[in-house]
Symmetry: C2
Subunit: 131 residues, 2 copies
Amino acid sequence: MHPVIGRLREHGIRPTPQRVVVARRVLDSKAHPSAEDVLNAVRRDSPLISRASVYNALKLFVRKGLLEKRPLRDGRHVYDPIVEPHHHLIDERSGRIYDIPRGLCRVRLTKPLPGFEVRGIQVVLKGRKTT
Amino acid sequence: MHPVIGRLREHGIRPTPQRVVVARRVLDSKAHPSAEDVLNAVRRDSPLISRASVYNALKLFVRKGLLEKRPLRDGRHVYDPIVEPHHHLIDERSGRIYDIPRGLCRVRLTKPLPGFEVRGIQVVLKGRKTT
DNA sequence: CCTTCTATTTAGACGATGTCTAAATATAGG
DNA sequence: CCTATATTTAGACATCGTCTAAATAGAAGG
């Protein structure tokens, strides 16, 4: 039995064959793959798996807490007339984006990052309007 | 003369009619519009403007420092098997994503955000590998 | 004003990404 | 075994951004 089957069950996910191959590809990955990356990788071993099954599996895994989905790939943008550095606040429910002035939110690196020149910091808070 | 014409010229942008209507829509916006938002808004006044002109104008404005482009819209994601909170580092040249442990980077709100319940903080550093 | 060279706009095709649906298939529980 | 439910599948569809080749506009020089 694949070790991932246990992890799927722990999270209340029925381990169908399709889900197992998706989980095997993504769970031990350090590469932060996109859905299409996973689809292509999985199809090398299981050429008959459908696009929708991979997307369904990934969505389910996120809902069950096995994975996190992160918007880290270039693709969909908004345009901001405020070019000075500042941060942003996104309301989960409406998707609305608010500005946070630089002074309201401080970011500090406790150690330098060797071998990397930092050229920009973007902080995004997610949450819900309560009023 | 539209006030935006001056701002375009200040940034070394020739103020064509198409660019002026795009600039008018986006420069005074608080709404963080996407390119498609801008296209749709602009077409209400200038139905004949082409999709490519709007995209070209936005890209030019960013290159000239009039706007910033920010990846704040849901759309393209990666999947991360590390579900514990941590931050990320993106190499501008390769697009590669690296993990930053929570302890290496601290975020602090200097004042609370009234009317908003924060449910997640995402810090993304952009820069370049130097080694 | 005319010509010429360059910049810009345009329509439309294209690729990538993600969602949805209806039909087929598999599985679980009685 | 039968039935109800879950899952998979192919394919259509929508959105977003890029690209290209042809048309147009504008600037610069005579």
